[in-house]
């Protein structure tokens, strides 16, 4: 009797152990037979990183792809949120971080315990995700919106779909008198930060709020991209901002850029990063972008989230440095970017940015 009971416990433990190890080695992910990007000598060792949850799915695909090409290397990425990831990196707990925001001047003024003495962290853009403004309105499939109209919808000033401000952008479209239900993220997120940054810069009069991880106005809210999508799908007349890969059955609006309306495409999202200036007075190899939300560049889509791979300029252990370089090179290579684009619909870096990033990674010691 007792033996039997213990047997069950042991069986449960064994199953748990097996399923846990199965999770740990990311071999099963849908990745990438792209061995071409691997360095000539396979990388070895273990690398730990943490941070942005926006990057999490892409990191899973990258880790799988990298480990397939370099069987002796182990990369661990914990999706703990950008803030916690950067804090862990600065304190030396992690060798790299993923963050939806570049390092701040205050952070750069401090010491990076994990890096070699005197060395700072650098920002390397590795993940560009277009943010879609999606809506659910019977009979309307295409919609043009400018930043001011979007701001007034999300701050609650525009209440119905047949508002003159919306009609002005959409000649020829019959708009119903349905009430507008703006849906925002209830959790703190980089997506909200980039969306509010876009509104604050492109429509400052209608959106007198600074960029923030937490949405500043009341309204319908749901957790995570998936939650926002399901809430928007459930409510007739809803409009929401969410990472473009989550739009599901919702229709997606075009944004006014200059005098034309631009739909989000991976190319358009990468284009705005190219058209944006770097943050001033940084090290030459720090590629922190000040995304130009008011760009008028042709075919650029200014509502994007740029996430960074944050690494040390110089590591105390050269073995760690070479592993970081190998992994970062794979992640930002055309092959690595394709892997992410395939699995999470991110926008691959443009050719010119890829070249800059490669130079930056090469400078890591």
């Amino acid at each position: 009797m007792n033996l039997k009971r213990y047997g069950v416990a042991v069986a449960i433990l064994a199953t748990a152990a097996i399923s846990l190890t199965a999770c740990a080695s990311n071999e099963a992910a849908p990745a990438a037979t792209s061995t071409s990007s691997a360095t000539s000598t396979p990388a070895t060792g273990t690398l730990n990183g943490s941070g942005s949850s926006a990057q999490a799915n892409a990191e899973t695909a990258w880790v799988a792809g990298f480990q397939e090409a370099n069987p002796a290397a182990t990369i661990n990425y914990a999706s703990v949120g950008s803030g916690a990831g950067v804090a862990a990196f600065i304190s030396g707990g992690m060798q790299f971080a993923g963050s939806d925001a570049a390092l701040t001047d205050a952070q750069l003024a401090g010491t990076f315990t994990g890096c070699a003495a005197g060395a700072k962290g650098i920002d390397i853009p590795n993940y560009i995700a277009p943010i879609a403004v999606a809506f659910n309105l019977k009979g309307v499939k295409t919609l043009n919106l400018d930043a001011t109209t979007i701001a007034n919808i999300f701050n609650g000033k525009i209440k119905t779909w047949n508002d003159p401000a919306i009609a002005a952008d959409n000649p020829g479209v019959t708009l119903p008198a349905t009430a507008i239900v703006p849906v925002h993220r209830s959790d703190s997120s980089g997506t909200t930060n980039n969306f509010t940054d876009y509104l604050a810069k492109a429509a400052p009069a209608a959106w007198p709020q600074a960029a923030n991880n937490v949405f500043p106005y009341p309204g319908e809210a749901a957790a995570q991209n998936a939650g926002v999508a399901s809430a928007a799908e459930a409510a007739e007349g809803s409009i929401a901002y969410l990472e473009a890969s989550n739009t599901g059955t919702l229709s997606v609006a075009k944004l006014k850029v200059g005098s034309t309306y631009v739909a989000y495409t991976p190319k358009a999202a990468a284009a705005v990063v190219d058209a944006s200036p770097l943050v001033a007075s940084r090290e030459a190899n720090d590629l922190a972008f000040n995304i130009d939300r008011t760009t008028t560049a042709k075919g650029a889509y200014p509502l994007v989230l740029v996430s960074y791979f944050i690494a040390c300029q110089k590591y105390t252990d050269p073995a760690v440095a070479s592993l970081v370089k190998a992994y970062a090179s794979y992640v930002t290579s055309p092959a690595g970017q394709q892997v992410a684009a395939k699995s999470v619909n991110s926008a691959p870096l443009s050719a010119s940015l890829t070249a800059k990033v490669a130079t930056s990674i090469a400078s890591i010691k």
């Binding site: 949120g81 703190s188 937490v214 319908e220």
Partner: protein, 315 residues
């Protein structure tokens, strides 16, 4: 007699090793729980001090001061918990009475198992159920309530377009605490002395009157304890509320709009990941407030139970 007496004395003096080990381990277990509680309280106080003294501009949402940030959350926590109890308590007592006094034995047993099974469902599943099934299902009812009873402040519009309101969250919470309250009430009602019940029946009481004069007074303190345990679970519930509720930082009694007061636990779950610096301390401050609320609820329950002990019929 003489021969056995010394042996008896000796046995009293000798403490077996097993006894000593066991006694020590219970003492350790008992003090461990106190130490854990103290450690949690110290952590909460120490970590929330920076938020109390910080410039409120740095807090999430830039409120006037830290209490302006905590107050809506504390209100939402208590409000959601009370609504859930309003739904769950009558239902649970009803179910428990049915199981103990009305249902045939076999049905009662089966029902007991089902209730216990409900307690084993993880809260995230209840949350998903709330979003996918409950919210769309109650939406027409909410619509009707706002249209016809909108003049009552509780039911003011505009009605939420998705049904993710504080009332939906309270219903989900109620479903989650019903198993706990029911199980405890059932045990309490089963303890009612059969003599009391039979005496009531012999005096000509109907079954309802028997329950009123014998079962409920006897079980009153037990019902209060059960309710407080349920309330404790409802106050601390995180995932279900985080998934179901459409939150905002407001104090608002309206049950059916999109602007619902958030709860402390769900707010921590939703904003912890991307919180840094003072924002993190502010979250711990809300945790400290939840700790105090729970403490007050438990002390209140203890007080209520003690005060009514004399009338419980147990003596």
């Amino acid at each position: 007699m003489n021969a056995s007496a010394p042996a008896e004395v000796k046995m009293k003096v000798k403490v077996r090793r097993g006894d000593r080990v066991f006694a020590t381990s219970t003492v350790v277990a008992g003090s461990l729980i106190l130490a854990l509680l103290a450690a949690t309280a110290i952590f909460l106080v120490v970590e929330s001090l920076p938020a109390l003294s910080a410039n409120p501009k740095l807090l999430p949402g830039a409120p006037a001061n830290v209490w302006a940030y905590v107050a809506p959350l504390a209100f939402g926590t208590v409000w959601a918990g009370l609504l859930a109890m309003l739904i769950a308590l009558p239902l649970s007592i009803g179910i428990a009475l049915f199981i103990t006094h009305y249902a045939p034995r076999r049905i009662a047993q089966a029902l007991g198992y089902v209730i216990d099974l409900l307690a084993a469902v993880p809260s995230v599943v209840f949350g998903l159920w709330g979003i996918a099934v409950l919210a769309p299902a109650v939406l027409p009812l909410y619509d009707w309530l706002v249209k016809t009873l909108g003049w009552i402040p509780l039911f003011t519009g505009p009605v939420s377009a998705t049904g993710r309101t504080i009332l939906t969250a309270a219903i989900v919470l109620a479903v989650m605490v019903i198993p706990i309250i029911t199980a405890l009430c059932r045990e309490v009602f089963l303890q009612t002395p059969v003599l009391h019940e039979e005496a009531a029946l012999a005096l000509g009481a109907t079954r309802l009157e028997m329950i009123q004069v014998a079962v409920l007074p006897f079980g009153r303190s037990g019902i209060i304890s059960a309710a407080m345990l349920g309330l404790g679970r409802a106050l601390g519930e995180t995932m279900a509320v985080a998934l179901v509720l459409s939150p905002a930082l407001v104090i608002n009694f309206a049950l059916l709009t999109s602007n619902n007061p958030s709860t402390i636990a769900s707010n921590i779950a939703l904003t912890f990941n991307e919180a840094t610096g003072i924002g993190l301390n502010a979250l711990v401050t809300t945790g400290l407030v939840l700790f105090v609320i729970t403490l007050i609820v438990n002390l209140g329950a203890r007080y209520a139970v003690n005060r009514r002990k004399a009338f419980s019929g147990a003596n």
